[in-house]
Symmetry: C2
Subunit: 333 residues, 2 copies
DNA sequence: GCGCTCTACTAGAGCGCTCCAGGGGCCAAG
DNA sequence: CTTGGCCCCTGGAGCGCTCTAGTAGAGCGC
């Protein structure tokens, strides 16, 4: 910085000012400073910057690196953060690496706020973390944990799916739930309510699962071993639906002719032509934008109240749902 | 830090020393400092640390966030880095975000070296980046780009797969390649060589593809439209194999009875019971360890020569390969 | 000419840490 | 009793920036 200043013949402060895009330098000088910096290969040091300004303008994101839905969110977070002048740093949560470790790393690198994607942790830890920095939980609710929340109206999404299926003539609609996965409890409840709301209370059936392909496969094997299949299955998420589809198709069960399948999330694989999964799409750009905006808002106004942003999901009808076969219909219909 | 020092009744320097785990403090004092810090909720500020020491001990990792193989690598990188006392920062590459942006972010945050996972970029950019910091390209070779390289012996992996298939009696073994994907050119060449080496040169057939499920699906549709299927397909990677399997099974083609399928990578989905894909496993822990070690070694000895670490792959035989049906055998066998 | 404002720029004090050059005790050897 | 060495510990100068308070000088109205 000293060198750049010397080369242009101004003070260090002026150079600093130019690099901060702060007012107070003439266009001509600004231009000369920039050129000198270019020539000398000077790039401001973010550590020093952070230290001096006690602001880093960095948001930390904790993701489960194996989760395709998180991948979508991360991708959507970047442009939004950039728009607001923030930088993004990622840290991974994994079976072998607790959220705690990811949070420590991020905070240690001066992230001003944290976006936790479907964090697999306890409210106590979040409450504690929230005292250190604004925390936004994306996709998972933590009542009473003092964190900002951005999530989809899960129940509504499930309702859309159930109505779609019922509208096609399905009654025996089984739900494979997502266990303790993000949003899973809400989806399970939403399913029960939607079924009852349509007078299908007697057909309610929930299979335990989680948000992986494996659990969908397991559910499929369980169903195949029974006397007859349900006419439709509502999976806890797309990955579960994928596992289900795979095992069903290998067993010679045709989708959607023999059984209809609906997922949740609308991850990229679901859109592939050969999968063509009917699913409930979460508003990824909306969630990313809301998460970033919430964090930034909180940063700029510490006293602001906790927000809960709920985004509307959307049913995307593709090729895995159709009317049940005649023979599969309930008698007396 | 001042506060902690005051509370214990020592100097700031002593506190610094304790937190750096540097020798020169008695166990008793060390203990007291740590307790005081705990009570006051003091945590050293990494920005200041970095600034003062002009070392950050942070490695930057650029990954394609949608890539399950990268997810595996990232997970394996953490423990290795921790062992050597380094921190990891992630930045994503995506269709909407060039490697360049990820690299800038990481370097701006004082990463001392960069691990690029199968970077989708040009040698010129890498050469330029390598002048700024040690760069390790994982899974993709860049001859002449002055970067460290860690990759699998792709040709060997393919050879193992081809031999396995040939050993089962297959001759019409088709390869769906990975286009410009990481390692793809080597795999393609390896396939050709292996086929010729087994006297199967006449059966060489390469279908253009890329490293996505979609390309596997497309290849499957193409094959299904032909007079007869090959008896075995060697996909460019697991994702491609997955797309292929999916379309085949929906078309009523049984795997491995009607056609055998082999993937490459051994990503988590491949191991799932319902997929049970025979594949060539890349040594993920080995690659992660080598990548970290190479970066650290380079950091500690700037003058060290560029290394290329080649790891042996391993054939994992699962349920998608078997001997070809009698009828499918070549006449005259 | 004076006082005023406004623009363009500067000096210098931090930000929170590391690290080096010591400085006292204390003990064993001479 | 000295000397040397070792162990613990301290003071203070940076690291590369930001930011506040302030200066110089130009332009303006009266």
């Amino acid at each position: 910085m000293e060198d750049v200043a010397a080369r242009v013949g101004v003070s260090r402060a002026l150079v600093s000012l130019v690099f901060r895009d702060a007012p107070g330098a003439s266009p001509r000088t600004r231009e000369r400073v920039l050129r000198a910096a270019e020539e000398l290969g000077y790039r401001p040091d973010s550590a020093a910057r952070v230290l001096a300004s006690s602001r880093s303008r960095v948001l930390g994101v904790v993701l489960t690196v194996h989760n395709p839905f998180h991948a979508d969110l991360v991708e959507a977070v970047y442009p939004e953060a950039e728009r607001l002048g923030y930088d993004i740093l990622l840290s991974a949560q994994a079976p072998t690496r607790h959220v705690r470790a990811a949070v420590e790393a991020l905070l240690g690198h001066r992230c001003e706020a944290l976006l936790l994607l479907g964090p697999d942790t306890d409210p106590a830890f979040l409450r504690e973390t929230a005292r250190r920095a604004p925390v936004v939980s994306v996709g998972r609710r933590f009542p009473g944990a003092d964190v900002e929340t951005v999530h989809t109206a899960e129940a509504k999404g499930v309702r859309l799916a159930v109505r779609h299926l019922a509208g096609l003539g399905h009654r025996r609609i089984t739900h494979i739930d997502g266990g303790t996965g993000a949003g899973s409890a809400e989806r399970r409840r939403g399913y029960r309510d939607a079924m009852r709301g349509l007078g299908l209370g007697d057909f309610v059936r929930v299979l335990r699962g989680d948000h992986t392909e494996e659990s969908g496969a397991a559910a499929a094997r369980l169903l195949l071993a029974e006397e007859r299949l349900p006419t439709a299955v509502l999976a806890g998420n797309d990955r579960c639906a994928l596992g289900l589809l795979d095992v069903l198709s290998r067993a010679g069960v045709r989708v959607p002719e023999d059984v209809s399948v609906v997922g949740f999330d609308d991850i990229p694989v679901a859109r592939l032509s050969h999968v063509d999964l009917t699913t409930v799409r979460q508003d990824v750009p909306g969630m990313a934008a809301a998460a970033v905006a919430t964090a930034v808002n909180r940063l700029e106004d510490r006293s602001s109240a906790l927000r809960e942003t709920v985004l509307a999901p959307e049913l995307v009808v593709r090729g895995t749902t159709a009317a049940p076969r005649e023979g599969a219909r309930e008698p007396g219909r």
